[in-house]
Symmetry: C5
Subunit: 384 residues, 5 copies
Amino acid sequence: MKPEGDIVSASHGKAARERTIPKRHGLLRLIRHHKKSVDLPAGTVAADQEASATSVRTVSYDAADLREHDGVAPPDLAGLRNSSDVLWIDVTGLRDTQTIEEIGAAFGIHKLTLEDIVNTHQRPKVETFDHYVFIVMKMLDHSDAGLTEQMSIIVGNDYLITFQERAGDCFDPTRARLKRVGGQLRSEGPDRLAHALIDAVIDNFFPLLEHYGEVIETLEDLVVSAPEPSHVQRLHSIKRDLLEIRRAVWPTRELVNALIRDEHQLFRDSTRIYLRDCYDHAIQLMDIVETYREIASGLLDVYLSSMSARMNEIMKVLTIIATIFIPLGFFAGVWGMNFDYMPELKRPWAYPAALGFMFVTACLLVVFFWRKGWLGERKPKALR
Amino acid sequence: MKPEGDIVSASHGKAARERTIPKRHGLLRLIRHHKKSVDLPAGTVAADQEASATSVRTVSYDAADLREHDGVAPPDLAGLRNSSDVLWIDVTGLRDTQTIEEIGAAFGIHKLTLEDIVNTHQRPKVETFDHYVFIVMKMLDHSDAGLTEQMSIIVGNDYLITFQERAGDCFDPTRARLKRVGGQLRSEGPDRLAHALIDAVIDNFFPLLEHYGEVIETLEDLVVSAPEPSHVQRLHSIKRDLLEIRRAVWPTRELVNALIRDEHQLFRDSTRIYLRDCYDHAIQLMDIVETYREIASGLLDVYLSSMSARMNEIMKVLTIIATIFIPLGFFAGVWGMNFDYMPELKRPWAYPAALGFMFVTACLLVVFFWRKGWLGERKPKALR
Amino acid sequence: MKPEGDIVSASHGKAARERTIPKRHGLLRLIRHHKKSVDLPAGTVAADQEASATSVRTVSYDAADLREHDGVAPPDLAGLRNSSDVLWIDVTGLRDTQTIEEIGAAFGIHKLTLEDIVNTHQRPKVETFDHYVFIVMKMLDHSDAGLTEQMSIIVGNDYLITFQERAGDCFDPTRARLKRVGGQLRSEGPDRLAHALIDAVIDNFFPLLEHYGEVIETLEDLVVSAPEPSHVQRLHSIKRDLLEIRRAVWPTRELVNALIRDEHQLFRDSTRIYLRDCYDHAIQLMDIVETYREIASGLLDVYLSSMSARMNEIMKVLTIIATIFIPLGFFAGVWGMNFDYMPELKRPWAYPAALGFMFVTACLLVVFFWRKGWLGERKPKALR
Amino acid sequence: MKPEGDIVSASHGKAARERTIPKRHGLLRLIRHHKKSVDLPAGTVAADQEASATSVRTVSYDAADLREHDGVAPPDLAGLRNSSDVLWIDVTGLRDTQTIEEIGAAFGIHKLTLEDIVNTHQRPKVETFDHYVFIVMKMLDHSDAGLTEQMSIIVGNDYLITFQERAGDCFDPTRARLKRVGGQLRSEGPDRLAHALIDAVIDNFFPLLEHYGEVIETLEDLVVSAPEPSHVQRLHSIKRDLLEIRRAVWPTRELVNALIRDEHQLFRDSTRIYLRDCYDHAIQLMDIVETYREIASGLLDVYLSSMSARMNEIMKVLTIIATIFIPLGFFAGVWGMNFDYMPELKRPWAYPAALGFMFVTACLLVVFFWRKGWLGERKPKALR
Amino acid sequence: MKPEGDIVSASHGKAARERTIPKRHGLLRLIRHHKKSVDLPAGTVAADQEASATSVRTVSYDAADLREHDGVAPPDLAGLRNSSDVLWIDVTGLRDTQTIEEIGAAFGIHKLTLEDIVNTHQRPKVETFDHYVFIVMKMLDHSDAGLTEQMSIIVGNDYLITFQERAGDCFDPTRARLKRVGGQLRSEGPDRLAHALIDAVIDNFFPLLEHYGEVIETLEDLVVSAPEPSHVQRLHSIKRDLLEIRRAVWPTRELVNALIRDEHQLFRDSTRIYLRDCYDHAIQLMDIVETYREIASGLLDVYLSSMSARMNEIMKVLTIIATIFIPLGFFAGVWGMNFDYMPELKRPWAYPAALGFMFVTACLLVVFFWRKGWLGERKPKALR
């Protein structure tokens, strides 16, 4: 298979895309990790050996002040918690399970939650515990490792911890807004920050869908003007990606709905109004994904009809040529026979007569094909 | 791809259609705007740079009197509100976000509502606020910019504000009824006007569906008499449009249902009876859309069976001609060989005998094909 | 397209069908009327200009007596109402809106109800008003104008009004039973008469489905023995009709269910038991429609497999003939060349040897094809 | 169409099947009866003229004693009822409506119940009346008349009446168990007997499904090794039967569920536990039916891919032969021309050179085809 | 059909799979047993004659101590129960119904439960009885007998009994954890052990799905580079297995949900939190199964488009060769005729002129085909 990231896309080179489409998506990866953890008891925090190295960044802020720290040791995080209104701990890379367990211990996180954070093949979900809310999401992956990566959020009363699989995310605009003094986000609690991150994760799917929309529109033209099997492959790989996006977005919709409906005292009513917006976006994503899938399926029909029309055209050319010249060749063969007594061969007018006979035969056959409508495109009037 | 607005339609030239079918529908546009707003915080009113210029028309009326104003400045709108029973502010074009924000400020509209008005890719929905009801709908676009445009309605206790993306709408009959002295609409509140507008938006989809119905009927004939791939393309583009209409109408149904069921004191019971009518129409629209989609899918089967029947016919002609003349050509070739000792060539009766032999062979083959039913259309008795 | 009413059906000529299948069904008509009424305010009673002329028949009866009147003027209907226990007003043709409005005025019918009666493209539904129940149904059309026509029923405490689009209906057996002295219907109220009419409308779909069942069975044989594209067209048109019947019956089911469940004091419990029967029939209708649709879809697969088997057979004949005689023709051509030094041409045994060589070649090829299984139908043992 | 009962099945001749698969299933019959009863008022007990003759068998038993009677007259049934704990009246054949009405009168059965018993095209359902429960089921038909027949059960407090369409049923094991002294069934009420009969009806579908499973497995092999259109026909007819079984079993599931959930004092809690078992079996039946339908649909894809692979093979043979020998034939034709001045014809080495040239051309073409992979099956390594 | 266990898989030989994919899956077996038990009354414990021999292993443990026993006689099991905190009785093989009935008697198990244990074709379900909970699951079969085997669990207040169809299971890691002193499992009740087993059964499906994922990825490449019907067969058999896995997992999800929701005092709240994890895994399994099914269906489209592209290529080669050389052959035939008066044959320049004429004709045809785009792959620019 050709690299999926390159096909077709060059035709839209002018609109520089912000991210590269990965070449292989994580279908296999999705299961491989499971296999490894199959024999472990539930509640075991066991890292995938291919996981990225762990790094911890913290941001603590109130309306007036914002402090950033890199690489704070887990035991020191408790101290940061005390000295600030809102503490955001941003953990990237899940290889160092010890660090993650220490963070868990410092904030009283349940063992099953830690297991879900490290086992990166969760379905998006929200789980409520006594003093925190645990949210798992699928975020578009910004590295080349797959289509999506897992993003876990723990929301406490004065802190928020995020766990990402790999470096690179879609939160830079959120970080910029956080640094702006007087920004709304600065004077709100961790629930509002959680909303901002959820919003970013959901909205970040739209540019990818835009790209697929462009590819589908290009294919809609190509499939008619120059159909070839690679188009069907491309459609197949788009449908596969859409399936994965659906698997990421569909439970996200339920998740956001659960945050809106359920009574977590950690999420205030003012934040719920904003979550309603996220909910609308998630539904819109699903709408677009389903629409694209149906259009992609429809394109296959267009492709097949193009191909069968081409086949018909090829067969017509063959049939016309063969049907005209095979009988003529037979007549030439008859008069090329070596019988001694073939009286017509002696006549001086015989040769032109034979040629004329052949010409008339050919003309009759052309007329026959013309009446069958096999010569040229007989556009019916209604279509002109 | 040929311009979709022209294909097939000419065959119904006699029935002058009221609107032109747009050539490109907004699949891409739908997402592109999202991309732009992805990095903005929720609640930001940021206009699409391609949006139309903003213009404001106001109509204020009671049973006795009706006054129209063009281009009233937003701060003056509050004054109009006081001097009239019902005030309809009709905003067209969403480029000038400042005007929209000023209107919002004058009527106490929530920031998220204003964002939804300007971000023109909302899903149809209804949202209730303390002193107004916010309705988003998709309306058939009367310009060439797309298939649908967004129509937002804010219903207050003595005013109604509508926001349209582009100039041109389906409300002229409503405006005419409003101007008629003694009309029912004049003596009712803004909820009744909201119903009239919702009704117009829904009913306006029917003429487009009628057009698609005509095209599908034309294609039902063509696909049998003269199938070609452009028919499948046309069916594909109709199905794509039907998908978009479904995406516009399906949530509209829920929206109207929410207006009927929920307890908004702004919508009186007498208006709810009329909304039940809108609800029925929305369901009918969905019924027709689904029926058309199934018929269009069925037509593809008819198309493919037509094509394969044609292919069979082509192959039959080729096979009949080739099967008759290739063996005959071989016999002629045999007697055209130059061996010295071919005794039959010397006989005077040999030539006519050879011709006779060939003729009989040809006849036997014709009989063979006739018995196989490959010559002419052997209609089975049951079908005559 | 050939007239759909004739195809295939002749094979069942012995079983004289009771009704003719219409040639064109009302897909287009369904919308055309909407278009006309799009610009009218809700509640306007505007007739379709193609509607049939209006005629009014009345039957008033109690257990002892039954009186029929034709063409009673609407104002006189009130008088009839007083002089009888049950009054059935049967209105046929919806062109004369004034008559309909006068009837409405005489019985206190709501404006929206009258609009729904005249706008003949309602979805089947039941609506309850203070002193009457309004029922809309789709009835098989007995004229040639379409597949179904609209039937509206208004049930009051001592009267029942029916509105039909066109003359001809399925109520003659009901009328006959009504005339029989001592019949159960005579001693019951208008709710029981309404049940009898609803029952007739639903049961009347069964003969049409029976016809489709016969056509499908015929096609099941034909599609195997003599497949041709007209069969697919016929299946397509049956599926289209089944879609329309489903659109008529599905909401009817809900309608009957609503009559059974809801508390209309106009429908007594004894009648509800009978309506349960109607409900069962409606579900059975849906069952049959869905089954037929699935069978028709399956038949298309049988058709396509028949066609591709035929194509394979054609190609086999061509390939066998061409593959045997083209090489032989080449050998004859070689020995027909005019080189001076072709020593084998001089040998007396050369000609028979050449013929023998060709014969052996042909035989080898035949063996090759025989072993490939291309000659004759090699039935696998398991199928014998 | 070939008799469906015979195809394929012979390959499993060793496992003697217990029942013959009927040749024509009752699609048409299903509707035909409706047509006849369409014009009758609801509540009329009118027999189908093709119904079997009616015969009545009764079994009355308590734990100690069991008495069987044949042909008891309906008026005498009341007497039997008094003299026994449980009375099972088994009515076979529904032609004699008078007998059925007399039985109905003797046990106080509602008119609509009697109508449903005689009109043998009910959907399986349960209806509760004051002093009895009425159950309608579809049972596999043991005669050749159709796939299923209707089985109605009336359960009273001390009696149970069954109505079958035709002689032959699946209750012999139940009868045997009833005759065994000390059997559990003997000491229980009619609700337990009803359970035993319902259980028998449901379980009796499994052997038929087993047969279909065997046919499908056989077809899975045949469709690959020797595809032909009759396989698709066979799959089509199996899918049709599965549709009918689904129509019989799906409402049966609801029926059993209703018996478990609803509060009929006639069904004791101890019986409900056993009905839970029936419920599980009905769900399993549906599972198998759906699985078989999906497998049958998938087999069609295998068939089509087999056919198109065969077509490709045929075309390859034709193309290879034609492409090699048509050019060679042309060269032979060139040197067979009769021009006076063709100098190469005079050279002694010309003939062998010409043959050599042709041979080399043929070899090049063979190499061309070999590199295209058209000669032999180039198994990719991954598949070996 | 080739052995399904071998195809394709060799390409992933490096990753040694832990289990062999069975060659024939249990579709037929699934029904065959039913057939045998059809005539038995409900509640009869009748073994399948092909069932494996029964063996009983017991493990009794508390936090401090663990004892294993093999082949304890059923009557002695009661004694073990008294001497330990938790008793796990692991029964393998269901042939010896007497042993199973004795165990049932010793622990007061209901007759219907015993029947369900022995009849190995239950749908996964949970049933609550007074003093125990009965769970039926489908577990991947580790022998070659089928894809899944039945696993029944009875959970009492101080014991747990498991029944497996055949030797070999996925519980060895659980047994190892049980033997580890100080392990969490050792200090918990039988509900926690039940969770561990359920967890193992669910997680054990993932490696098989991983294998299918790998096969599907391999087929995605092969279907493009070297399509052949065996790929479709392989896809068909994968889809069949996925159907069976879905039938095993879907009700398992409901089962786990029932354990979480319902109030069994035997399952403590601490265990319910762990069951929530099982529930997530079951949903993920369903997600993967559905995704694979859709991808497999999509692959068929890719396959068909590959095949039709190949057919087109074959036809193009044939058409090009035939269309060029058949007319040339005709011209050669004309000049090979034996008419006495063919003046051009006498001219010295005639032969080269004829060859030149033929050459030009051939060139024109090549140009014709080149412009039709039939020579080489004319990649449209957009795709480069």
